[in-house]
C-alpha cells in the first residue's frame, strides 16, 4: 500500500468533493469541474516550477512576482511597442527565465540560501513591474494573447486550451521526473547533494537547470494569466508564491527535498480550488477556505515529518 503521504492528498480531495456535492446541487457537474480547472491554471503552472525547486530542497519566493513581470512585459511590448504578439510573449518568457537563471546562479555559485536569494529577486521583480507599468493595468491586447483563454466543448463541459496545456505540462513533468536521467538526478541532489556530487552528478548544473525551467513555467503562467484575465496585471501574483508552496506541501512533497511527486502537487492545487469554488456555491465566506487550507497544510507537513522519521 502506498504511504499515507501519497494517499492523504487524494483522500482529502475526494472527501471535499463528496462534502460539497452533498451541500450544493450545482457542484457535481462537468461544467463546474472545468471551471475549477480554469481557476487553478495559473497557480497550477507556477506550482510545477515550485515543485521542482522544492524537490532540490530549495524554495522560490519570487515566482508570483516573476509571473507578474512577465505578464506586464509581454502585454506592454505588444500594446505599447506594437511588437508581434508571439515575439512579445517570447520576450516575457525570456525575462522570467532570466530571473530563474539569476536565482539559480546565486544559489549555485555564490552558495546563497534559496530563501534569501528569491526574497531579493521577488522584491526586485515587484519594483521593476511597478516602475515599468507605472502601476497601470495593460489593456487593449492583441487577440493572439487570449488564445489559451479560448474554449472548446467536451460534452457538457467547457474547457479552455490553457487547462489542456496545464494538464499536458503535468504529464510531461511526471515523465521527466520518472523516466529521464536529469529527472532522477534532481531527486538525488535534493536527498543529499554531497552524495550526489560524489556519484558524479553535476549538482550545480542540475540546480541551475531547475531554476531556469521553473522560470520558464512562470513565463507560461504569465501568458495563462493574460489569456484568462484579458489584461496585463501589475498587481497580480502577490500571493502566488505562498499559494504554490501550499499546493506543493498539500500534495505531499517534502520541504526537506528529495521526496514528493508532481501529480501530488496537481492534487494540492485542486484541493485549494475545490474549497474556494465549493464554499462560494454554499454561500460561505472565503475566510473558511483560508482556515481549512491552513489546517490541511499543517496536517500535510506533520504527516511528512512523521513518515520521514520512520523511513
Amino acid at each position: 500500500m502506498p504511504p499515507l503521504s501519497k494517499l492523504g492528498p487524494v483522500i482529502a480531495l475526494l472527501a471535499a468533493c463528496v462534502f460539497f456535492a452533498s451541500q450544493s446541487d450545482r457542484f457535481l457537474s462537468s461544467q463546474n469541474f472545468s471551471l475549477i480547472l480554469q481557476q487553478v491554471m495559473v497557480v497550477g503552472i507556477i506550482a510545477i516550477g515550485q515543485t521542482l525547486i522544492i524537490l532540490t530542497a530549495g524554495i522560490d519566493l519570487s515566482c508570483g512576482m516573476a509571473m507578474a513581470l512577465g505578464s506586464v512585459i509581454m502585454t506592454k511590448f505588444a500594446v505599447d511597442l506594437g511588437m508581434n504578439p508571439y515575439l512579445a510573449i517570447g520576450c516575457g518568457i525570456a525575462v522570467t527565465v532570466l530571473i530563474g537563471f539569476i536565482n539559480g546562479a546565486l544559489v549555485t555559485s555564490v552558495k546563497l540560501p534559496a530563501f534569501i536569494v528569491t526574497l531579493g529577486t521577488m522584491n526586485i521583480a515587484f519594483a521593476v513591474t511597478q516602475l515599468y507599468s507605472q502601476a497601470q493595468t495593460v489593456t487593449g491586447l492583441p487577440e493572439a494573447m487570449g488564445y489559451f483563454g479560448n474554449t472548446f466543448q467536451l460534452g457538457q463541459a467547457t474547457f479552455t486550451y490553457g487547462t489542456v496545456l496545464m494538464l499536458g505540462m503535468y504529464v510531461l513533468t511526471w515523465l521527466y521526473l520518472r523516466e529521464t536521467a536529469p529527472g532522477r538526478h534532481l531527486y538525488a541532489v535534493g536527498n543529499n547533494p554531497e552524495a550526489a556530487r560524489l556519484t558524479g552528478i553535476a549538482t550545480n548544473k542540475v540546480l541551475l537547470g531547475v531554476y531556469m525551467i521553473a522560470g520558464m513555467c512562470y513565463g507560461i503562467a504569465a501568458l495563462m494569466s493574460v489569456a484568462r484575465m484579458g489584461v496585463g496585471d501589475p498587481q497580480g501574483g502577490q500571493t502566488d508564491n505562498l499559494d504554490s508552496i501550499t499546493a506543493v506541501v498539500l500534495g505531499g512533497t517534502s520541504l526537506f527535498g528529495g521526496r514528493g511527486s508532481i501529480m501530488g502537487t496537481l492534487v494540492g492545487v485542486l484541493i485549494v480550488g475545490v474549497f474556494r469554488n465549493g464554499l462560494t456555491l454554499m454561500g460561505v465566506s472565503s475566510v473558511y477556505q483560508i482556515l481549512v487550507t491552513g489546517i490541511l497544510v499543517i496536517l500535510a507537513v506533520a504527516t511528512d515529518q512523521l513518515t520521514h522519521k520512520k523511513g
Binding site: 481557476q39 484579458g230 474556494r276 469554488n277 454561500g283
Partner: protein
C-alpha cells in the same frame, strides 16, 4: 413497488431542489474579508437579503489588489446561479473582461463603492460621491484656517486609484484651489501642498508617510488623509514630535474608530460614507432584477455627511453623536 416508490421519492426531492433554486440568488464580492468597511457592507447585504427572502453569496479577494481572486469569485457565483452580482472592484480596469462575461450570461452587475473603468462596464454604480467627500473636508479646512498661511501634507491611497484621486482633488477644490474639478485627470498639486505620499489606507504606512513628510517640511500644519487609519498613523507621527496640537488632520470614511478619533480631537473632521446603504440598495436592485427583470442603471449616490464637533461657519456638518450612530466597525 418499493423501488418505484424510491424513484418517485427521488424525483420529488429533485423537483423540490429545483423549486428551492428559484429563490433569487445575489452575490457580493468585496476587496477583502477583513476590512470593517466591507464587513459592514456584507452585514447590510445580509440584512436586506433576509428581508427580501433572497439567498446571498459572498466572496472576497485575498488582499487589496487581488484581481484574480475577484475574477474567480465572479465565475463561481455565475456557476452558483446568481442573478445579480455586486462588486467593489480591486482593480478598476482588470476586472472588466470578467464582468463582461458575467453580463453576457445574463447577470446584472452593480459596482459598489468605486467605479470600473470605463464606468459603463457595469450596469450600475452605487457609491459615495468621493469627490464630494473630499470637497466637504476641503471646505471645512478652508473655513478653519480662514486665510492663515497653510502648508499641506496629503496622504493618498496608492498610485492611479480613482477613489484616491477623486477625494484628493475634491479636497483641493474645497480648499479653494482654482481649476480643479471632478473631471481633473490624476492627482492635482498646488503651491500649498508641500508633501504628497501614499499611505495605502493603512495606519502603519500612513505613519511612515507622515514621518517622511515632516522630515521634508517640518512646518506642515494641515494634513489630508485618504481614510481614518491613515489619519491615526499621521497623528502618531505628529505626536512623536510634539506637533499634534498645531496641526489639523482631516479625513474621509466615517468608521466608528475614526468618528471616535474625531470626538477625541485627533481628527478635526471626516466625511462619513454609508456602506450599509450601498449593499442594501444593491441587494434590492438584484432581487428586483431576479424577480421582474428590471435592470438598475446609472450612478446612485449613497450619501456622504461631514462629521465634526467643531462647527465652522458656512459649512454644514453633524456632530460625532450622529456619526457614532451610523458608523461601522468596532
Amino acid at each position: 413497488m418499493n423501488v418505484k416508490q424510491c424513484i418517485a421519492l427521488a424525483v420529488l426531492t429533485a423537483a423540490g431542489g429545483g423549486a428551492m433554486a428559484e429563490e433569487a440568488i445575489v452575490g457580493l464580492i468585496t476587496k477583502t474579508d477583513t476590512n470593517p468597511f466591507f464587513v459592514k457592507m456584507k452585514e447590510g447585504a445580509q440584512q436586506r437579503a433576509k428581508l427580501k427572502g433572497a439567498k446571498l453569496l459572498t466572496a472576497a479577494g485575498r488582499a487589496d489588489g487581488d484581481n484574480a481572486g475577484q475574477v474567480t469569485a465572479i465565475e463561481n457565483m455565475v456557476a452558483a446561479g446568481a442573478k445579480a452580482i455586486m462588486i467593489t472592484p480591486s482593480d478598476s480596469k482588470a476586472i472588466v473582461p470578467a464582468i463582461k462575461k458575467a453580463r453576457a450570461a445574463g447577470v446584472l452587475v452593480i459596482a459598489l463603492d468605486s467605479p470600473t473603468e470605463p464606468q459603463d462596464a457595469t450596469d450600475a454604480l452605487f457609491a459615495t460621491d468621493n469627490y464630494k467627500a473630499g470637497l466637504l473636508i476641503g471646505q471645512y479646512a478652508k473655513a478653519a484656517f480662514a486665510g492663515k498661511p497653510v502648508k499641506i501634507a496629503m496622504l493618498d491611497l496608492f498610485p492611479g486609484h480613482p477613489v484616491g484621486i477623486a477625494r484628493h482633488n475634491g479636497f483641493l477644490a474645497g480648499f479653494g484651489a482654482p481649476g480643479i474639478s471632478a473631471k481633473t485627470v490624476g492627482p492635482a498639486k498646488t503651491a500649498d501642498v508641500v508633501c504628497m505620499a501614499d499611505s495605502f489606507g493603512d495606519q502603519g504606512k500612513g505613519q511612515t508617510a507622515m514621518e517622511n513628510c515632516l522630515q521634508k517640511n517640518p512646518d506642515i500644519n494641515l494634513v489630508y488623509t485618504i481614510n481614518e487609519p491613515a489619519a491615526a498613523g499621521a497623528y502618531k507621527a505628529l505626536k512623536a514630535l510634539g506637533k499634534e496640537k498645531n496641526v489639523m488632520i482631516v479625513s474621509v470614511d466615517g468608521g466608528c474608530a475614526g468618528v471616535r478619533d474625531v470626538k477625541a480631537g485627533v481628527i478635526a473632521a471626516t466625511s462619513q460614507q454609508y456602506p450599509l446603504n450601498m449593499a442594501g440598495l444593491g441587494v434590492e436592485a438584484g432581487v428586483e432584477y431576479a424577480k421582474n427583470g428590471k435592470k438598475a442603471s446609472g450612478y446612485v449616490d449613497t450619501g456622504v455627511t461631514l462629521i465634526s464637533d467643531k462647527q465652522q461657519a458656512g459649512v454644514e456638518s453633524r456632530d460625532t453623536a450622529f456619526g457614532l450612530n451610523s458608523c461601522w466597525g468596532k
